[in-house]
């Protein structure tokens, strides 16, 4: 069998590390790149380097940001008394698309997952608690995914936040159990927000 040249193996390996990409897809993508004109491959490479150089996570809420603070934290039009906790940056985008929410966010960057060894220390939970001690937030909405890990995370957060005496609510069901927030349609998500119930 002919050996795969090293540069090609390297591309396959790197692509294969991306989430949701198995070895077969990595192979297919690598050959696609080989067939693609040089300038568009260079654009892709430059875009990857650029996004890493210019986009980071907000120091305050851990959503994506171009500087220390994200556009939402910097905005003067957001209601800082209400804070919504989500698992992923994509969840912020999904909620923003509904146009129903005008508060601020906190992105945990994951959910508690005992099987994967993801405990409270792996998430931005300590940061959330210290933020709530500092800032004049009067309501926290826990918008974790409506699945097993999301529910566990919400319950854990509610326990951690209880001593702070801040009103805590959970998105209303109607969000199908076992699914992910990011994939909920806008109407369902908007309804879940307006029907939120306190913990």
């Amino acid at each position: 069998m002919a050996e795969v040249p090293a540069p090609l193996t390297r591309v396959m390996e790197e692509l294969g590390r991306l989430p949701g990409i198995g070895p077969k897809t990595a192979q297919r993508l690598s050959f696609y790149i080989l067939r693609t004109p040089r300038d568009s491959v260079e654009r892709l490479a430059a875009a990857l380097v650029d996004v890493k150089a210019r986009i980071r996570f907000c120091d305050e809420c851990f959503f994506i940001a171009e500087g220390e603070r994200c556009a939402i934290c910097l905005s003067s039009r957001r209601d800082r008394a209400i804070l919504c906790v989500v698992e992923e940056p994509l969840d912020v985008m999904a909620i923003e698309r509904t146009g129903e929410y005008n508060g601020i966010y906190h992105v945990l960057h994951g959910a508690l997952s005992p099987i994967d060894g993801i405990g409270p220390g792996e998430l931005k939970i300590a940061e959330l608690v210290s933020r709530l001690r500092r800032e004049p937030v009067s309501e926290v909405i826990l918008a974790c995914d409506p699945d097993m890990e999301g529910e566990a995370t919400a319950v854990y957060l509610a326990q951690q936040l209880a001593p702070l005496g801040i009103q805590t609510s959970r998105l209303a069901h109607g969000l199908p159990v076992g699914g992910e927030l990011e994939y909920a349609d806008e109407l369902t998500l908007a309804r879940a927000f307006s029907g939120r119930r306190s913990f």
Partner: protein, 249 residues
């Protein structure tokens, strides 16, 4: 595509591609297997709840080129009370993690399937102690694996053990007499009552075990011994256990 039916429990889930998930399933008919659930992450999908962690259902699977595909699900079990309860969720994760680690792919073991169903049902019952039920599961899975701890004779010197407080040694796989226990560094202390409960569990006396009111101190000792025994034989740390321990402290 040829299809087949299976009673299945979701042990693990892994996001895949745009909106799919790869599930590790424990099935009665075909043992442990991986299958892909297309579109499972879209919250609209009606089947989402049936494909959540620990969910049990009657499934129709289609043979795929690499992974088999979940074609239909019909909900069977109920894990409503595990959801939203941190401790119950963590113990259910422990059950999943252990079963995933100890079973080989496509190698059905009826007793293990029944044990997992029974344990998840118990963890879902709000009036039961998830710690006691998970400890029972640990002893039964050790039994299945052939690693039942030695509780009658000291594995160090072979002498019969008196009914007294003792030392549990995962290295030697059982309870040591006073003389042998003094030389064993790794291990944990057992009170006489913990030893009695462990013997009852090893003898598979579920009825008696169910009637006991086991104090938290006893459960600490029993869990320490069984967890150490299992981790020693699996030769690896269980991630769910680390999580559970972090909840305890």
């Amino acid at each position: 595509m040829p299809t087949y039916q299976a009673d299945a429990i979701v042990l693990r889930r892994l996001d895949y591609g745009e909106a799919d998930r790869i599930l590790t399933l424990l099935t009665r008919e075909h043992g442990k297997l991986a299958a892909i659930a297309k579109g499972a992450r879209r919250a609209k999908a009606r089947s989402a709840g049936s494909l959540d962690l620990f969910a049990r259902s009657r499934m129709m699977l289609a043979k795929g080129r690499n992974l088999d595909v979940v074609a239909q699900v019909e909900r069977r079990g109920d894990v409503r009370h595990i959801s939203g309860d941190l401790q119950r969720t963590a113990y259910a994760c422990l059950v999943s993690e252990i079963v995933d680690k100890v079973l080989e792919d496509r190698h059905p073991v009826d007793e293990v399937f029944d044990l997992v169903v029974e344990t998840l049902d118990r963890l879902n019952a709000v009036d039961r102690s998830p710690r006691a039920d998970s400890a029972w599961f640990l002893m039964r899975i050790l039994d299945q694996l052939g690693y039942l701890p030695q509780l009658q004779d000291c594995p160090g010197c072979g002498q019969p053990l008196p009914e007294a407080s003792a030392w549990f040694s995962p290295l030697l796989g059982g309870v040591l007499c006073k003389a042998c226990g003094a030389h064993d560094q790794a291990g944990s202390a057992l009170s006489v009552n913990s030893l009695k409960v462990l013997r009852l569990m090893a003898a598979d006396d579920g009825e008696m075990y169910g009637r006991l009111r086991i104090t938290a101190e006893l459960l600490d000792e029993i869990e320490d011994a069984l967890e150490a025994q299992l981790e020693y034989h699996l030769d690896r740390r269980l991630k769910s256990l680390e999580f559970i321990r972090s909840l305890r402290h």
